[in-house]
């Protein structure tokens, strides 16, 4: 785990003091709401439907048990006993009071956390692979590179007022668990022929109103140079991004308008100017950061074989664990998707339990996934049964990772001011309906957004659902064929929309048709759809 140095801590503490003063002045009416609103947004505080909402940054989705306990404390002390883990690996609290914010932020700062750059047109929280440093399929841990980006982008004066928000994801594996093709910049660690680590650079991906997949503008960038190259990309964007039109202001529009080749050429030209300025850190600095991320000392003799005679336990192990680099270890995903519950919500008590488990069994680390689940990255297989029993008693042992009831959902009209329709109830109904047959269906990713902004990744869903407003009524569009993984594609709308019950029935019809169409029981829904196209599903739903 990265630990703040004196500079990191000083920056965060100063920000808390500054915001305390700003809040005091606002409460005394010394500043207007018009002047104050941008200041609170810079500190992650939005006004939503029922109350203020605070978005806390979780850099590359990694926290330790001390931080998770603080997140639980905040849920209990300042909220109504729960929090919502988001698709950007952050946590949101829904029932915040402005007058309590300074104390809350001071509590957060005491565990090296904050909420700035979780709103506004700046570089947002850097996201990453939730299996970093543990996955057997990874080249190297991407988080040191993400951490350096965090330091570089924190309060970067030139990039605090970009044309629009800016999201960066970094992965260290060819198996893409960080959706790098759907970010403004996606970075993938790769090796050259000499075996040296570098970065493949993608730009111009994103969801929202105009979804696009990112383009590779560099196949290999030496790690020694990547920071200045990022600076060059941001400079080109900052200069030419469409500030005149909020709907065209993301970098994806610029990359698309110029064409990826021309955009890349301009970046190279800018880079030639930036590189000599000496921004790139010496290798010793990168090594210093990387040392923080050293995995815990693992037991070389940890047994591989474990007793799987309990069928529920065996099923959970089969579905919710993932191969670890080290024999005798595994990666556990704790599902926050018990069918019927709110996707991504965790109670303060559950957070405390997960913190305890991380400390006891997982090298004191917890990860947040972009699918709104939590991960314990380094667990001895021999400890799995004890761990599972605790999860069962806490209602956290749902065995549904990447299955039909593991649904991503944004807060939608139950909480969000921008929403057109509710998304959580759709996710809940679908999860309850589909859970009984999900083992047969295999991998199936359903994603629900409450408006075109696409916070629920509906464009990247094998099955995506988008809430729209139809003459004042909630209405839902059905999209098929998306993926946010290494085989990324954008889902396409199937046809006219449905009401709340109609969309659930429509998804059931799609799934029933898939079962008759799949080439064999192992063919995923997505692969069947890619093979047969939309027509048979259109016919099943509208025919």
């Amino acid at each position: 785990m990265y630990r703040y140095d004196e500079y990191d801590q000083a920056v965060v503490d100063a920000r808390v003091a500054e915001f305390r003063d700003q809040v005091e002045r606002r409460l005394k009416n010394e500043i207007s709401e018009e002047a104050f609103k941008p200041l609170r947004l810079m500190n992650g505080l939005y006004l939503q439907l029922h109350a203020y909402m605070l978005r806390v940054a979780i850099p590359y989705g990694t926290v330790d048990s001390r931080q998770m306990r603080m997140l639980a404390h905040i849920a209990r002390r300042y909220d109504r006993g729960y929090g919502h883990f988001t698709t950007r690996q952050n946590i949101q609290y829904n029932w915040m009071k402005l007058e309590e914010m300074p104390d809350l932020l001071a509590d957060l700062a005491s565990v090296e956390m904050h909420a700035f750059q979780t709103s506004g047109n700046c570089i947002r929280n850097i996201s990453s692979d939730q299996f970093a440093a543990a996955a057997a399929d990874e080249i190297a841990d991407p988080r040191p590179y993400a951490e350096l980006l965090r330091q570089w982008s924190t309060l970067h004066p030139e990039f605090s007022f970009l044309p629009r928000k800016f999201k960066i994801a970094v992965t260290g594996s060819t198996i893409d668990r960080a959706a790098i093709k759907l970010h403004d910049i996606g970075l993938e660690l790769v090796q050259n022929e000499a075996g040296e680590i570098g970065l493949k650079v993608l730009v111009g991906g994103g969801m929202g109103r105009t979804p696009m997949l990112g383009h590779v503008i560099r196949e290999y960038l030496p790690v020694a140079d990547y920071l200045s190259y990022m600076e060059a990309i941001l400079r080109v964007y900052n200069r030419h991004g469409r500030r005149d039109n909020i709907y065209k202001a993301r970098i994806k529009i610029l990359v698309n308008d110029l064409g990826p080749a021309e955009f890349a050429r301009q970046v190279e030209e800018e880079w030639a100017l930036v590189k000599p300025l000496g921004l790139d850190p010496p290798p010793s600095e990168l090594a210093r950061i990387a040392a923080h991320f050293a995995p815990p000392v693992l037991d070389a003799n940890a047994p591989v074989e474990i007793d799987l005679s309990n069928p529920d336990f065996a099923n959970w192990v089969a579905v919710n664990t993932h191969p670890h680099k080290a024999p005798g270890y595994t990666i556990v995903t704790i599902s926050l998707k018990a069918p019927g519950e709110i996707p991504g919500d965790a109670s303060a008590d559950q957070m405390d339990i997960i913190a305890d488990l991380a400390q006891r069994y997982a090298g004191d680390e917890i990860r947040v996934t972009h699918a709104q689940n939590l991960v314990l990255p380094h667990v001895r297989r021999a400890d799995l049964f004890d761990l599972w029993q605790v999860l069962v008693s806490a209602g956290l042992a749902t065995a549904n990772l990447d299955r039909a009831s593991d649904i991503i959902s944004c807060p939608g009209l139950d909480y969000c001011t921008l929403a057109n329709a509710r998304s959580i109830p759709i996710a809940q109904k679908l999860a309850v309906k589909l859970a009984p047959q999900e083992a047969d269906l295999g991998e199936l990713k359903i994603k629900v957004s409450g408006c075109i902004n696409g916070c629920g990744h509906h464009h990247a869903g094998h099955i995506g659902i988008l809430g729209v407003d139809r003459k004042g009524e909630e209405n839902y569009q059905l999209l098929l064929g998306g993926s946010g993984a290494e085989d990324a594609t954008l889902a396409k709308i199937l046809g006219p929309g449905f009401d709340e019950n109609g969309i659930v029935t429509a998804v059931e019809k799609v799934i029933d048709r898939y079962k008759t169409l799949r080439a064999d029981p192992a063919e995923r829904f997505l692969d069947t759809y890619r093979r047969v196209g939309a027509e048979p599903f259109k016919e099943a739903v509208y025919g």
């Binding site: 409460l27 006004l47 109350a51 203020y52 009071k97 909480y415 959580i424």
Partner: protein, 95 residues
């Protein structure tokens, strides 16, 4: 069509309804502002104590005011997915 004035309290973010001479947490206490709405906003907005002041359309029902839009019904009651937090303003299933 009757209209209500609503906003969010600066200190807490609470949803408030204009009840004639003061604000209430409960839509059942709200008083229709009809033609006076804009004048009320013009008077209250400069005080800078209530955010996002807005007039919304409602229908009178035997149970009280029913906002026309789902959004405002959700604001009046609370998140439909957390009936345990629902305000006693409208039945949750009225959303």
């Amino acid at each position: 069509m009757p209209r209500l004035l609503t906003g969010n309290r600066l200190e807490t973010g609470d949803v408030l309804w204009w009840a004639g001479s003061d604000w209430s947490l409960h839509i059942r206490d709200a008083v229709a502002v009809d033609d006076d709405g804009e004048a009320l906003i013009a008077r209250l907005a400069p005080q800078e104590r209530i955010n996002d002041l807005v007039l919304i359309d409602v229908d009178p029902t035997p149970d009280g005011w029913r906002p026309r839009s789902t959004r405002e019904r959700v604001r009046a009651v609370g998140p439909s997915v957390r009936p345990d937090f629902a305000l006693p303003s409208l039945p949750v299933d009225a959303i």
